[in-house]
Symmetry: C2
Subunit: 135 residues, 2 copies
């Protein structure tokens, strides 16, 4: 069963899109694999404290993109080939990197400065992650 323990909703972005991204990124990372069961719409919505219809919207889109298969009565299941994962990886990375480089260049930040900043935040989040594990 796919876990949503590390799912942190952000304000400003539609929740159903965040669920979509969370699963796609998990697939790219390899923490979510082909054949994995997803939590039911009702259970997940209760866990996240949101409406079942919002989860349904996200899952419906995953179904349309043929990343999961659903069948009335049974839990939805991940259905991802290595090929799909590669495509996901490229698409998600391109979008993410494009947005950040665009933003930084627009602010007149040099590449060197950008690297320094990313380095800094990377370590910060690393220590944050560790802290949450050991507390």
């Amino acid at each position: 069963m796919i876990s949503f323990d590390t799912f942190k909703p952000t304000e400003g972005t539609p929740i159903y899109q965040q669920i979509l991204l969370y699963i796609k990124r998990g697939a790219v990372a390899g923490t979510i694999r082909d054949g994995d069961e997803l939590p039911s719409r009702r259970v997940l919505s209760a866990l996240l404290g949101i409406n079942p219809n919002t989860v349904q919207k996200a899952f419906h889109l995953l179904e349309e993109e043929e990343l999961i298969v659903s069948q009335a009565g049974a839990k939805s299941v991940m259905k991802i080939t290595e090929e799909k994962i590669q495509k996901l990886r490229e698409d998600l990375l391109r979008e993410d990197i494009r947005s950040i480089t665009g933003a930084l260049r627009q602010m007149g930040i040099s590449r060197e400065e950008a690297f320094k900043l990313i380095d800094q935040f990377w370590e910060e989040e690393e220590t944050e992650a560790l802290r949450s594990i050991f507390l």
Copy 2:
């Protein structure tokens, strides 16, 4: 008069927020300076092909953040001190860098791989920018 020549609306994000960001980032980059006149609501909305009320919403928020001053009958004017610019710089950078490092780590991308990707896109956009100038 502040130019919106390099403004490229993206789908998925509210337009008024994109206008807000465009101006803030311009202030951080130094291309938009204290005392600069903004185009009128009507003119800018016509240029961007959007509704005047959408521009008004963005400008109203800039007014609330005390980055511009407006007065009925006259054009709005940038009103930014060096202190405000520094604060903007920190806020925008933190938000941008945080989102990208979060996304990359969630996909299991290493720091080295991230740098390589950013390097690649940085050059791509550079050549794109040059192409648009020389064509």
